[in-house]
Symmetry: C2
Subunit: 443 residues, 2 copies
Amino acid sequence: MAATTMHQGPKGTRDFYPEDMALRRHIEAAWRHASVIHGFDEIDGPTFEHLSLYTVKSGEGIVNELFSFRRAGGEDDYALRPEFTPTLARMVAARAGGMAMPIKWFAIPSHFRAERPQRGRLREFIQWNVDMVGIDGAQADVDVLSTAVSALGHLGLAPSDVRVRLSHRGVVGAALAALGATAERLGEAFTLLDRREKLDPKEFDARALAIGLREGAAARFAELARTKLPVTSDAHAISSAIGCNREAAQPLADIAARLNDAGLGAWCDIDLGIVRGLAYYTGTVFEIHEATGAERAIAGGGRYDRLIELFGGPSLPAIGFGMGDVVLGLVLKDRGKLPASGGCEFLPRPDAFLISAGPESADAMLTTVAASLRGRGLHVRHTYKATRSVGKLLGEAGKCRARHAVILGAELEQGMVALKALDSGEQRLVSLDALAQELGARA
Amino acid sequence: MAATTMHQGPKGTRDFYPEDMALRRHIEAAWRHASVIHGFDEIDGPTFEHLSLYTVKSGEGIVNELFSFRRAGGEDDYALRPEFTPTLARMVAARAGGMAMPIKWFAIPSHFRAERPQRGRLREFIQWNVDMVGIDGAQADVDVLSTAVSALGHLGLAPSDVRVRLSHRGVVGAALAALGATAERLGEAFTLLDRREKLDPKEFDARALAIGLREGAAARFAELARTKLPVTSDAHAISSAIGCNREAAQPLADIAARLNDAGLGAWCDIDLGIVRGLAYYTGTVFEIHEATGAERAIAGGGRYDRLIELFGGPSLPAIGFGMGDVVLGLVLKDRGKLPASGGCEFLPRPDAFLISAGPESADAMLTTVAASLRGRGLHVRHTYKATRSVGKLLGEAGKCRARHAVILGAELEQGMVALKALDSGEQRLVSLDALAQELGARA
């Protein structure tokens, strides 16, 4: 039993000391606020699921990226949740018949990836998931995008700090078809578009030809992926820029128009290079990036109209995104949106720091006063040190950022205490009866 | 890809739909509030730890109760967190040199046990952990107890609903010693006291003799375990009731006195039958139970003055407790402290439900008005249905418990909308400019 080893947390995980946790809560509060004001309800699921839930969508290939396990003596294979969408799809499928549509849900759970940890990518991270199920069309897409942008705004980020890069698989698909990609091999064309920067040009050309792209189309293809348009573009502008017909460009133009109605135009660019690797996206796709392209994507999402069905539910359109805390934290730091003192600034400030400065016989009063103030909902601290030096104790009160010091001294006999506002230094006598109200307690 | 199976969550885990999550947040909010007003800072650690962290305190025996795993290709054994104390002890040990004492921390993470699920016991549960490290004495013990009781009070529970059962290992140890238990075998005596109701009387007697208890002491022993005293008892009353000397009874009397100073006397009983199974408790121990003894313990904790050292840290006194969400949820239900409608009552109420009732050309205004109100921090919903029937839409507004309906109709041309308070039914015209303020937005 006499172990004296120092223990460390697992690689790629984090210990959240109070200042780290305060920063995490600051981010989570912005996520939760943006979700609630946009009419999303919070949900959560198990931290681990049956392993099979994760192979439905992603195939067996994902198994190596998961932390999977069995219970001793059990027969079921489980895995720590690498993403939230399968849990969401399962929960929707289980109750889809009895729920009013659209379903608007958000969740802020931990996720796990058994990958090599690197900048912006950890083995355990917190991710905000926002999803809207059972509704199609630009209004839903814009509500989801607006929720993401609203949270970033609450965190102090502006359109000069972060950009929403918006595309639409239907629109890009029409452009790829116009370049010769056959309908059956459109998925491969998207993969090629997504991986264009990782492939050797010769291999790119060979694969482009194989999926039906006309010779020389590869250059157009690369051009397409580089196409950025202002979010004020209408269907005509989009169709002429990317070479599809106007009708095909309409869905993206509709979303762009509504983004402007919602006052979000300044945050967004149309960027046809955004594909999102995952095969299941069906319409709108978007990523949010730091404005200069530093760091990984802050968020990514899109429309996945066939996914609920894949998990055994009815056929329901859906759109959603995920935003992790790790990259977002780096971007907030990069853009100077965190206080110099770090998370300490976000720790809740005590309403009162109690100081016992009278006769020791009156020390029990400190316990009684503290209990009474807390009973009124006030945040109360006091020293646990033996010192009775008021100067030292005022120092301790300042250190924990208390708004007031309450000094229980000789005046206690008359039912009075000294109340010192620590920001202004102003000090006056108040009666014990009035103390809670003076400290801001609600009646 | 054409899977159509229905997927289910793992046995012993929960899906939190919005009403379930609202109830969980209601409980978590009470926990967090009680922690903050008592001066505790929130922390968190990894969801999984090195398996070895859990065998330090509990021995190899715990391994079968854990969900443990390795990363594919990795060599480290991990386990899902079954309790928070080892993580806390590791985090304290890692930084103990640089932190002001006492450390006052709380955490509200998920925990995992690979046991058979039963009433009040699941494989994944949320647990509130409150710990105070680096300080000894009655003040710290009472602050920790006060935090637990404060949360229960916030949840609507009263001393007639739940009882704090308080004991002290030092005091009980003195009584056991007085009955003949030798110092070396005191741990076994505690185990026997803890397990007395599970053992056959003959086996109990045999084991009691084996650890040095005098013949006939077994009856006294059982009597000790049944001893309940009012929390107003002083050292004299405690020592005469349990047969130890007065000095040994003093620590428990000190805590009792301070509990009364803090106004907590009405919630607490001294109950010498409370031992807490775990060997690492050193002084104060307590459990919180439903008043009639229904359900498992709501919370349990105590002083563990040697534990930080065991995890490689300095020698630091500590006291803490854990309170899970499962039993607490059952007790709140048993005692009628949850709304009849369940968690729905706790869902955030929308400030406004927007209704477009004017010409369709004005529908974009709904998007603009929603964005503007949300920009002021207001919780805004609207329909996604095609209907323009104001009656039906008012029904939808009522269903989501909106405080107001805002009807964008013909008056929009004059910059006015109809504002209907849904609780009172009162309706009046207000200008778009004043709408946010009318809805209660802060300036």
